[in-house]
Symmetry: C2
Subunit: 352 residues, 2 copies
């Protein structure tokens, strides 16, 4: 690399020894004023800071963490940034990580297993202090294959079967249960679960929860329309399918695996104008989607504590990094909350 082309501008980054030279001190002193200012006289501290400012010195963190053997960044590998649930997790994780004086860097797997493991590899190679993994809802192959390394790793929204990692999850069954029981409490008896595919763990567990709630009530039934995804589009399809089955439809309560599904269903019902929500059919969604609360018929929902999950997971990770973590890996289970709105309560619901 010729001197002229180096780094585009040709001006090389000044190093710590440049700073030391300019300030007329030893290199160790520069390091000290940066890392343990209390070990340095006020006078020399000022001289060093002046030199740093004059040269525009920026500490080389690669060298720092190589020499110190510790890093101050934490990596977060996230299944899908397009999903606001994961953005909430990121936000929570960042807050906690920051409190511990570290930084959070995010890598998006974009619903692609290969990218996910590549992202894990990137963080490991960078020797980050630790990694938070909010993985794809798929078998755990990739993460287990990762056991070669010993970077601390905490899972978010995924439970390590073999207790290899700590993690934070939310009780999906409970969420499904809450949603269904709410509808049942409103006196509805012929329920329907909309969501899918059931091969997704989260969906399956929500469905199970709903089944349990229905089983508790003697004359209640739970039907199922399995979808190919959780978007508005899928909700609309499901609603049309439902109407095609029998019109008027034979149900009076719907538990949807996502708010978007619920919205899709409501929209179709609105169009048909035959079904009143919640008069004829009470509907509960899932996720506390930002839009859902603002939509035409505010959707009752089950709220996932995304930020809290991020915070807790980061807390667990920081413990592992500090070495203060318990020997045994633990999985914290957070409880979802029901947020009843108009799509189930009707006019009884007051916007606050």
């Amino acid at each position: 690399m010729s001197d002229a082309t180096r780094k585009g501008t040709g001006r090389a980054q000044p190093s710590m020894s440049d700073v030391a030279k300019l300030a007329g001190v030893a290199i160790g002193t520069v390091s000290n004023t940066l890392n343990s200012p209390e070990k340095v006289t006020e006078a020399t501290r000022r001289r060093v800071m002046a030199a740093i400012a004059e040269l525009g010195f920026v500490r080389n963190d690669a060298a720092r963490s190589l020499a110190a053997g510790t890093s101050t960044t934490v990596g977060l590998v996230v299944a899908d940034l397009g999903n606001s649930f994961f953005v909430d997790i990121a936000r929570g994780a960042e807050a906690t990580v920051r409190q511990h004086g570290m930084n959070l860097l995010i890598a998006n797997s974009d619903v692609d297993l290969a990218k996910q493991s590549n992202n894990l590899a990137v963080f490991e190679q960078a020797r980050v202090a630790g990694v938070l993994l909010a993985p794809l809802d798929t078998p755990f192959v990739e993460v287990s294959a990762r056991l070669t390394s010993n970077t601390p790793l905490v899972l978010v929204n995924y439970e390590s079967r073999r207790k290899l990692y700590s993690g934070v999850v939310v009780d999906e069954r409970r969420g499904g249960f809450l949603a269904a029981r709410h509808v049942l409490d409103l006196g509805r008896r012929r329920l329907l679960f909309v969501g899918g595919p059931l091969s997704l763990r989260a969906v399956a567990e929500r469905y199970e929860g709903a089944q349990r709630a229905v089983a508790d009530v003697a004359d209640a039934t739970l039907d199922l329309v399995e979808t190919h995804g959780q978007n508005i589009r899928h909700g609309k399809q499901a609603a049309r399918e439902l109407v095609a089955r029998s019109n008027p439809i034979a149900i009076d309560g719907i538990v949807a695996a996502s708010d978007l599904l619920a919205i899709g269903v409501i929209q179709v019902f609105d169009e048909l104008a035959d079904f009143d929500v919640p008069g004829d059919v009470a509907i509960v969604g899932y996720d506390n989607n930002h839009f859902a609360s603002e939509s035409n018929v505010p959707v009752s929902t089950v709220s996932q504590p995304g930020e809290e999950m991020g915070r807790l997971a980061a807390e667990l990770l920081c413990e592992e990094i500090a070495g203060t973590a318990a020997r045994d890996k633990q999985t914290v289970v957070l409880q979802p909350h029901l947020l009843p709105r108009r799509s189930s309560l009707g006019d009884a619901w007051r916007r606050d």
Copy 2:
């Protein structure tokens, strides 16, 4: 740090010299099989790879980039991950960066200027190959203050006034113009712009564009309702305010600064049931919000090419990193596109 507490497990990461020892080769050979396999015999390559696998060796990237003086990661500092526009940018940037054999790490500024500059600092200290910055819509102070460093930096969705950095922006005026002209083309003459605050550059420019379109038509007028933000809530407020001004309202076309605003307006109009959209009032939003296309009345919108912006910005950055960039900084201006849907076309619009 005692041996027992080190790294939690106590098992230290193996180094390249461990691999070299096990494979019975020199350390330089290990480096070569990793970085330039063609310089190494097939036989030794295999021996080395076997040793790597056996030890579970993971290359220390901090040491690598320190020694090599180059990094293989690119940083993206993003104003707000909660906004899907920025997620699109991230997705585009990642695709391009990956094509160049590098990795993309994301840091979220979360609409906080202090975090933004901290994030920039983190990436600089990490000596990433380059940084993409999708900044907050605020004065350029922080980024200029950053001039001390010489990490390549490309802006996304922001134009460097002093041409200090290359960048990719979208022509917001054009977007506003397209939206307004579309409504005018439908024969509407009494238009209203909803959005705000106008101190946001993007909003102001969209408004200007709309004004220009209206100025082109002799008898057309453009009214303004300034909002405090671009959410559904603000749209509802604006609509109520409008109705309060005069009922029936004196306008027949609305250009909104976001799809969410448009949805809010439509929802209020729906409730009142007095105004038909688009019969009485044609509405165009902005952003091609995922949600907007699926809503009850699919919202006509102006689409921002987020992914393309990310791709292009990453392309520019890679050029700067490679040193093949033109001397002068350039700002690429991308054009937004109009996507007419039912909220303006009515039944003439067919879902595809």
